[in-house]
């Protein structure tokens, strides 16, 4: 089964948060609403960052919030949240963060290629600002799909 596609329901634009924990919670809330995870998964995503630091900020302006597979992951899930105001995650190079992708997987090797293709769309430095300006989920999906197809090699 491929990575679940981004749908309008998996996207939340202009979330108002005050810190990185709020940003991760927003990404978790969308995963919960979609039925992919139970609420404890959100806390586990926060715990990963508390334990290992801001390495989840994998590119300028982009955080990939995630945790290990677990009993609280019902199905593979993907969410995308843009922030009304960027927040700092404490990363030396890639802060501040304006876009958070939430990821939940049921097994450790699931979908790595699909996740990489999604992430690689963000190698275009214009994508984070463009997403921040998006006001419709469908427009945000189009922006990412354009970048994804361009980047597949």
């Amino acid at each position: 089964m491929p990575l679940p596609p981004l749908t309008p329901a998996s996207i939340r634009l202009g979330a108002v948060v005050t810190d990185w924990r709020g940003a991760v919670r927003a990404a978790g809330d969308v995963l919960i609403a979609g039925g992919s995870v139970e609420p404890s998964y959100t806390q586990r995503m926060i715990d990963v960052i508390d334990e290992f630091g801001a390495y989840v900020v994998i590119a300028p302006g982009l955080a990939l919030a995630h945790a290990r597979p677990g009993d609280d992951v019902r199905a593979d899930g993907l969410s995308l949240v843009t922030l009304a105001e960027p927040v700092s995650f404490g990363h030396a190079h890639n802060d501040p963060v304006s876009v958070v992708i939430g990821l939940a997987v049921t097994t450790a090797d699931a979908h790595v290629t699909g996740i990489a293709d999604l992430a690689n769309a963000f190698n275009d430095p214009g994508l984070v600002p463009a997403l921040s300006m998006a006001t419709e989920p469908s427009a945000a999906i189009d922006l990412i799909l354009q970048g994804t197809t361009r980047d597949v090699s």
């Binding site: 334990e51 630091g53 390495y55 989840v56 290990r68 190698n123």
Partner: protein, 90 residues
């Protein structure tokens, strides 16, 4: 040649790094086995690795190793990954 991509949870971010390292190695025409690992398993997974790929945030947590540690700032920047692997292997 064995290369290990490391992240905190061993899923997601290390997977992205693995896929992009494989693409960079293909461009460089270098044969290597790239695996993804979490930090906790690294002593085992990287025991026979030549290179450990990781984030600046995780470098200090890597246990003593014979492998070269290559620090990648942007996991999605194939050009950066390719250049750093080229430098490490050249």
């Amino acid at each position: 040649m064995k290369i290990v991509a490391v992240c905190g949870a061993g899923v997601g971010t290390s997977g992205i790094l693995k896929v992009n390292a494989e693409r960079a190695l293909a461009r460089l025409e270098i044969e290597a086995d790239v695996t993804a690992s979490d930090i906790a398993s690294l002593a085992t997974t990287a025991a026979d690795a030549q290179i450990i790929l990781t984030s600046p945030e995780l470098v200090d947590r890597i246990p003593p190793t014979w492998a070269d540690i290559v620090v990648v700032q942007s996991y999605v920047d194939l050009a950066e990954i390719e250049q750093k692997l080229f430098d490490a292997l050249g």
